[in-house]
């Protein structure tokens, strides 16, 4: 299994995202990155698995926790670091920071810091795809907390009503900031979604990028052919604090034991040899990206009022 080409490719991509975020952790105390960072460490397999069979023309709408999806969808690493550094060469010319990454050239259609707010955008993009006769599949990515927002309900209803080619992808890490899902939700996410009358899928092994990729491959294929919406919940686990570069197991709202359970299943933690094999090439790429970011200019004063209307 771990020798298969698919495993190695996905491993490489997941590791790349983790090493990028670990570099952010290293750099963060230097205060050159002046942006809140919501790290995906622990959740990389969701992004790489979900994006593997998406085409560049397929669209993904994300949340503020989007480094992983940005990279998995094919966004430029140099432009991402430049964006974190507030440089004009960043993917949004230094106006987005970490929370609003976008790479329209590869179908990463933006990320919003307002919980649940991009879910209807995915539905609307799917409406356009249907009307214009494109074969696009659109993915709306959101957390478990986002399912508590009214607009999530509004979006599900409209997508089902008009049979739109959209995948609702719930990245369930069991937490919204420091609150457990149990303390927030009186419903079961899957049962609730199912009641709208669309097919629902559950992937419990959100650390297993091959499993995620295989299931997502079928789901993407299904949506591409049927042009109808589906719902997918992928269980995962956030290793770091909600926002920022640190760990927070000492804060008492969750236990390190649950982390250990996830880590024991996490291929990036388990296959040290493979990590060592891939690490040098990835680190070289990261070094270059950071160098590009650091040596790029800041936006000039004219940028302030550019692109307002």
């Amino acid at each position: 299994m771990e020798n298969s080409q698919k495993f190695c490719e996905l491993f490489f991509q997941a590791l790349r995202i983790r090493l990028v975020e670990e570099r952010i952790i290293e750099l963060y105390p230097g205060d050159a990155i002046q942006s809140p960072v919501h790290l995906s460490i622990g959740q990389e397999a969701v992004a790489v698995g979900a994006c593997r069979d998406l085409k560049k023309t397929d669209l993904v709408f994300c949340t503020y926790r989007s480094h992983a999806f940005y990279l998995a969808k094919g966004g430029s690493l140099g432009e991402m670091f430049a964006e974190l550094y507030g440089k004009v060469t960043g993917c949004a010319r230094g106006k987005a920071g970490s929370m609003h990454l976008a790479a329209p050239e590869v179908g990463l259609m933006g990320a919003s810091a307002v919980v649940a707010s991009t879910i209807p955008h995915a539905v609307g993009a799917a409406l356009a795809a249907k009307r214009l006769g494109h074969d696009q599949v659109v993915v709306g990515v959101f957390g478990d907390g986002a399912t508590e927002e009214g607009v999530y309900h509004e979006s599900l209803n409209f997508a089902v009503l008009h049979r739109l080619p959209v995948i609702f992808l719930c990245e369930n890490n069991g937490l919204a900031v420091h609150s457990s899902q149990k303390s927030r939700q009186g419903y079961d996410i899957l049962d609730h979604a199912r009641s709208y009358g669309l097919p629902v899928y559950h992937i419990a092994e959100g650390y297993d990028f091959v499993k995620v990729a295989d299931m997502m491959s079928d789901i993407i294929q299904r949506v591409r052919l049927t042009r109808e919406p589906v719902f997918v919940e992928i269980r995962t686990y956030r290793y770091k604090e909600h926002v920022g570069p640190g760990e927070d197991f000492m804060c008492g709202y969750r236990q390190p034991e649950e982390w250990l359970v996830w880590k024991r299943q996490d291929p990036l933690e388990q296959y040290g040899n493979l990590v060592e094999t891939f690490r040098p090439a990835i680190l070289k790429e990261i070094d270059e990206a950071v160098h590009f970011a650091m040596s790029s200019p800041f936006p000039s004063a004219e940028e302030l009022l550019r692109d307002v209307v």
Binding site: A92, H100, G110, P120, R131, V151, V309
Partner: protein
């Protein structure tokens, strides 16, 4: 009643309610102008989609979308669930992927449920991503008035939106204004536009210039609708009509000539036009459809105060709604909105410098009485 709108450029004769005036002008109601622009947009652009609650029913947003769903299909003129935020998000996503959505709110008040999508997303999508996306869309909001519209069906929320960088906010004050604005915006502007349509104007007939003689004008900016020497009236939406009526009354009973400016695009008015006029007349009245506090009235005063306060011969006068939610009892509603009498009196006091100026005031008190065709139920 027939309103003579001085701004002119285009019309489709066919939609002009069958009415024809003398050569060079035609007559078209505000409703028919709206309907014509909606039809025109659907016909000329495959990408246009109209989304709103009831856009496909027999009333068709007060007649502005009637029959379009039958003609262009329910997938292009789409009735929506009762989901203001979600549908605004859907419109944004559709705009990001190649469509031009036109969204309707049968009352502007209901757009408050979509504030997150309008302000946090649509207004910022271009800037926040460094200019990499455009969100071309038109959101039509109807301002209700009279027949007991009350606190939640009458709000004129232009300043809320005009406050936000990234949104263009227009307030068409005539059929011509709609014909000049909507097609140009839909054809050429790539960002979100919010339009406040005044319900009281839907039934009014306006002179418009025929399609053949149309000229393209900037869909944003402001318009000089009446030249004058003694005082400048800067007005929005239906208050432009009131300003014209006040100006005509004063011209009849006195030597006072009012210059009237239709601010039109409240998010980016033509301030040079406003300043040029105020510098000429030295007197300014601002008449807006909404509350004066922190609104259009306040903003016009800010700009004059910043640019050239010394040009004023007298303090500025502002007219707007009274600082309360809108009441429903007719007697209270009449006090709540400014009327023609107040406007004429304010102008006369300002120009003569005397409280007892002795000029006759018009009889009509309530604008809703004047625009008589506007009667419930609706």
């Amino acid at each position: 009643m027939l309103c003579n709108a001085a701004v002119t450029s285009r019309v489709n004769g066919q939609a002009a309610s069958g009415l024809r005036a003398e050569a060079g002008t035609e007559i078209m109601s505000y409703r028919d102008a709206l309907h014509w622009t909606m039809h025109d947009a659907l016909q000329r652009h495959d990408s246009v989609l109209i989304l709103g609650q009831g856009v496909d029913d027999h009333k068709g947003i007060f007649g502005s979308t009637t029959g379009l769903s039958q003609e262009f299909g329910a997938d292009r003129v789409m009735d929506t669930p009762l989901a203001e935020e979600g549908m605004t998000g859907v419109a944004i996503g559709a705009a990001l992927n190649g469509l031009y959505p036109i969204q309707t709110h049968i009352r502007a008040d209901f757009s408050l449920l979509a504030m997150n999508q309008i302000i946090n997303l649509a207004a910022k999508y271009k800037y926040m991503f460094g200019g990499r996306f455009d969100v071309p869309m038109l959101i039509r909001m109807i301002v209700g008035r009279s027949w007991g519209q009350g606190a939640q069906h009458s709000q004129s929320l232009q300043s809320l939106f005009a406050h936000i960088p990234g949104l263009q906010v227009v307030m068409p004050s005539s059929s011509q204004s709609i014909l000049d604005t909507y097609p140009a915006v839909i054809d050429r502007y790539r960002g979100p536009v919010i339009s406040f349509e005044h319900r009281l104007m839907y039934d009014l007939q306006f002179y418009v210039t025929p399609l053949a003689t149309r000229q393209e004008i900037d869909p944003f900016g402001s318009r000089l609708v009446r030249p004058g020497e003694e005082v400048t009236i800067v007005a929005t939406s239906i208050m432009v009509l009131e300003a014209m009526r006040a100006a005509e009354h004063l011209a009849l009973v006195s030597d006072i000539q009012c210059e009237v400016i239709d601010l039109h695009c409240v998010s980016s008015p033509d301030w040079d036009l406003v300043m040029h006029s105020v510098e000429k007349t030295g007197r300014l009245v601002v008449a807006d459809t909404s509350w004066r506090e922190y609104g259009v009235c306040a903003e016009v005063c800010r700009v004059v105060a910043e640019r050239n306060p010394g040009c004023l011969k007298a303090p500025v006068v502002t007219l707007g709604m009274q600082p309360a939610p809108c009441p429903t009892a007719k007697c209270l509603e009449d006090l709540f909105y400014p009327d023609l009498r107040q406007l004429v009196d304010a102008l006369a006091v300002l120009v003569t410098g005397k409280k007892s100026h002795g000029l006759p005031l018009p009889d009509t008190q309530s604008m809703a009485d004047v625009y008589k065709r506007f009667k419930g139920p609706f």
